[in-house]
């Protein structure tokens, strides 16, 4: 408590309200869901709206200077170490809070329409509220431990929501895969926490940051700790090699994909690295690892995205690719740019997913873009908003994605030219497959069944309203971070300054690119995006090429369409050996070796008994004789010895 700045103590109540409301929503809906019926959707949404309002209050109260840090109670205590359950609200947290609760609210609203006919309506909202609760805990925690609670909690909710339609075994597999893959990352996180606790003497951010500040740059301990933290981040944020769960996670209902697997949860890794920016800055080799893994993921996922035909899978791979880009930004030390892209990405990716949901809704559950086409005529709002989202993600000015992407690219250009080329490439591929998606879905002629054509309709207002709001945000969202050529102050960066300034003192200030370079970079990026879109237009609009059915694929495109057989590889390399090992252990060790040794003692007794019973001849004379002889011998021994 001593860290609380007294002027801000009035903010504690709204700060506590932020996670408390969704928790309350979860409890209410899960207890009374059946009675509440469709009311539970509104209750759930209102709770998130309440959190959003509280976040605004907090935003107003804390502003760009303050910092709220307080402990609720001592959670785990041992041997003089006390790990508290406490909250930290600074500018970074505020940014996360605002878009989690803001977008979260609209996605709740959207779900009321989207899940209207689902029998698990109430259950869905209880899970969603629980998810928001854990996500808020994740970003509001004042220590790695509290962050870890949220971290695992969102993993649980993701598990529950991916497997929401639990009658389908494939969905359950996807859910389980997501949880287990996340757990691999969590082990890294856990080990990193042990290192921090042991060598830094605590888990709260202040302690760790202060300790890290005074440490030698690039020491082995720092590198190991940050690498382990990054393992955790790469599990949650679907980076190579732990990304395969995210595309499978699309099994969940579409609002879930939008909220959890695009806008919020998967960015937790980026948040965590940004939160620990001092640690990471002090470990430059880790930053390099992050940079190259980010770039590799970005390019790799973008390439896979080209050959996917499931509307949600395309978006999933694009999410992986964009996350890779954010990590690349972090790897370059441009934490603000990474966070900036997190925010804009949340706007347009949520928009795209919700739009995709609206399309799926209109198509009666169909997700294959080869069976769509010309949908713009039937679903105008969905179509146009989706187009805006695609323009934003492709980096067309002046949409949101342009500014955030441009910042990352500019940083890459300054930092490492190869990185810049690869990221630009990834960005171009993104523009290509996004417009492949747009052209195949919304333009051309309808390729579905006659029945589907009849069914085509625009979605209700609860669905289209969030689309429109998010579309507006996708258009104007980028203006919070205008580059230097347009504006003297970078609003977003200066807002986050209190969080990152300490870290920035640790690195030599590298020169900002000149205005000319910036103009050039923006020009190149824009032209590249237009070229890609043009390329997509030629292929899918002018030549009306259609993606081949799966069985006609051959050569490299087959490999790409099958996602480079990574899943199969993991099965062969990890899953199957463990299964074999399991049988081996049970049959060979447990049953054969160990039990043999145990049973050997029984066998020994048995054999001894069998041998000695031969003496029992049953002949009384023999017994008597033996008795007498024994007595005589006994006496003899007594006398002789």
């Amino acid at each position: 408590m001593e860290q609380t700045i007294s002027a801000l103590s009035a903010m504690i109540a709204p700060a506590l309200l932020i996670p408390a409301l969704p928790l309350l929503g979860f409890i209410l809906i899960s207890l009374f869901g059946k009675k509440l019926g469709h009311l539970s959707g509104w209750i759930g949404s209102l709770m998130i709206l309440g959190s959003f309002v509280s976040s605004l209050v907090l935003f107003n109260g804390i502003g760009s200077e303050g910092k709220l840090n307080f402990d609720l109670y001592e959670w785990i205590k041992f041997a003089g170490t006390s790990l508290s359950f406490g909250f930290l609200v600074d500018q970074l947290t505020l940014v996360m809070l605002l878009f989690i609760t803001g977008i979260g609210f609209f996605i709740h609203l959207y779900s009321i329409g989207y899940m209207h006919d689902d029998e698990g309506f109430a259950r869905f909202f209880s899970y969603l509220n629980l998810f928001v609760f854990f996500m808020l805990l994740l970003v509001m925690g004042n220590s790695y431990l509290v962050m870890f609670i949220g971290w695992e909690g969102v993993g649980l909710c993701s598990y529950l929501l991916i497997g929401f339609w639990h009658k389908n075994p494939a969905y359950n597999d996807a859910a389980k895969k997501a949880f287990v893959m996340n757990r691999i990352g969590d082990l890294g996180f856990l080990l990193a926490m042990f290192l921090l606790l042991f060598y830094f003497g605590g888990l709260d951010f202040d302690t760790v940051n202060n300790a890290a500040m005074s440490m030698e740059k690039g020491s082995g301990l720092l590198i190991l700790t940050t690498l382990l933290l990054f393992v955790g981040a790469s599990g949650k944020s679907a980076q190579l090699p732990l990304y395969t769960w995210l595309p499978d996670a699309m099994a969940g209902p579409t609002p879930v994909s939008a909220l959890i697997h695009a806008a919020t949860m998967v960015t937790a890794g980026i948040y965590m690295v940004s939160r620990s920016n001092i640690l990471f800055i002090q470990a430059p080799p880790t930053l390099d690892v992050i940079l190259w893994i980010g770039i590799a993921t970005s390019v790799f996922a973008a390439v896979i995205g080209i050959k996917q035909n499931d509307i949600k899978k395309i978006l999933a791979y694009s999410t992986v690719s964009q996350l890779g880009m954010m990590f690349a930004a972090l790897g370059l030390g441009a934490f603000e740019s990474g966070m900036f892209h997190v925010v804009t990405h949340a706007f347009f990716k949520a928009l795209l997913f919700l739009g995709a949901g609206s399309v799926i809704h209109a198509m009666g559950g169909e997700q294959d873009i080869r069976k769509m086409g010309g949908l713009l005529k039937f679903t105008k709002i969905t179509g146009f908003t989706f187009l805006i989202g695609s323009l934003a993600i492709s980096g067309i000015p002046p949409f949101a994605g342009f500014f955030s992407k441009d910042e990352i690219l500019a940083n890459a250009f300054e930092g490492n030219k190869v990185a810049w080329i690869l990221l630009s490439l990834s960005s171009m591929v993104t523009a290509f497959y996004m417009f492949r998606l747009v052209f195949l879905t919304f333009f051309g002629s309808f390729r579905g069944t006659e029945e589907q054509r009849h069914h085509l309709h625009e979605s209700p207002i609860t669905i289209t309203l969030p689309l429109m709001v998010l579309a507006v945000l996708s258009v104007i969202g980028g203006f919070i971070g205008l580059p230097a050529v347009f504006s003297d102050t970078h609003t977003f960066r200066s807002f986050l300054n209190p969080v990152f300034e300490q870290g920035h003192t640790l690195v030599a200030e590298h020169a900002h690119p000149s205005h000319a370079t910036e103009w050039m970079l923006m020009g190149i990026a824009t032209i590249a995006a237009f070229v890609s879109i043009g390329f997509a237009w030629t292929m899918y609009m002018k030549n009306k090429t259609l993606p081949e059915p799966d069985e006609q694929l051959s050569g490299f495109s087959k490999v790409v369409a099958n996602k480079f057989y990574v899943d199969e590889l993991y099965d062969k390399l990890i899953v199957n050996p463990i299964k074999v090992l399991s049988d081996l252990f049970l049959v060979l060790f447990d049953k054969l070796i160990i039990d043999l040794i145990v049973n050997l003692s029984a066998i020994l007794v048995d054999v001894t008994g069998r041998t000695y019973r031969l003496i029992q001849t049953g002949n009384t004379g023999f017994y008597v004789f033996a008795m007498v002889i024994s007595m005589v011998l006994f006496l003899l021994f007594q006398i002789v010895l």
Partner: protein, 477 residues
Amino acid sequence: MLSLELLFIPLFASLLILFAKGKAARALALVFTLIQLLVTGYAYTIFKANGGAAFEFTQAWVKSPVINIHFGVDGISLLMVMLTNLLLPLIVLSGFNRETKRPHIFYALMLFMQFALNGVFLSMDAFVYYIFWELALIPIYFIAFNWGDENRGKVTIKFFIYTLVGSLLMLFGFVFLYLSSPQHSLDWNTLTQFKTCSCNQTWLFWLLFAAFAIKIPIFPFHTWQPDTYKSAPTQGTMLLSGIMLKMGTYSLIKWLLPIVPDGFKEWQAVVITLSVIGIVYASIIAIMQTDLKRLFAYSSIAHVGLIAAGVFSFTQQGLQGSLAQMFAHGINVVGLFFCADIILSRTGTLQISNLGGIRNQNRLFSSLFLIVVLGSVALPLTNGFIGEFLLLYGVFEYNTWLSVFAGLTIILGAVYMLRMFQNVMSGPDSEHISSFPPLHWNEKLVLILIGGLIILTGVFPAPILELTQPAIDNLLK
């Protein structure tokens, strides 16, 4: 004197129940276990955690050899007494809608078991402790033998002889200690103050450890366990896994560590390695288990392996974690076996491949089952996390690489538990399950209480940790 009351309530109840008939037997059992719980709660409220023993009772018994009846509790013992007396009413209540043959004998044995378990945790004299240790084996043997499944004969004999061999070795150890102690006494205080030379501790360690390792069980002494858990009636399995194996882990801390500290440190590396091997080994076997009870049995081996590793890490957090995890594991494993029993009583099978789709039919049960599963995969804010966090941190402080291997438990645990949950609870309706009737009131009550405890002790673990802290400080001095 309170320790005597804690002992005699279940003993008295056990004798009384023998004369009850039918439903009266289990009602009586519930009443007395609840009284015992109240007394335990009272003991907890007046207990002052200061590292020393409280509620002591001493009475000379045998002059030569010198054996004194000596009971008392410190924070560690009190925690185990609390666990025992908290679980017993739940275990008794869980059988309320089941038909048990000869219930008066069954519940009398159960209460007798409670008496023996309390005795083990309360004893402060090694000889008395040994008597209770053996006494605890008798009721569980009869429970498993008379109420178990078709394989019970072979399995219970294996279990009985296996554990008996271990206790015999322990007895040898105590006899040696008695002879070599200057005052010729087996009192806990004497034994912990007088340290026999480390040349003797080397082998003395194994004499005592054998008994505990078999009871826990630590790899490779574990093969009796899955069969026994499988064959025993579920309430017996709950007793075995929930409380009885804690006798072993408790004794590691209370009897082994302070009596042969040099031997403990000498063999630390060996035992901790065995424990960690056991964790990974049992987890991997659990992944492919086809039977629900066997799966839980192997998961239990993995969990207690981590507890043993934490104890042998010989760190504050390792010992704290092991105690917190003992408490948590007792609750969780009883919950797991109870869920298995609920499934068995409704579907007639425990084969995972025959089950499925229960979630579609019984939402409440599936939610409660999920909470227990989450507790056992150590999700934060459940009780399992506190224990595993501290344990892994303890192992980490001992050796970083071992902690990586031990940490695999959080991954593998998620794999086998979720695989089980998916195949049993989710998916399309199984053709083997025609209907899944709703939970009976007592089943609901037990599961809700267990779920509540899992979350409550996960959010507020401080009372447990504070209770044991002074005693552990004492041990590490």
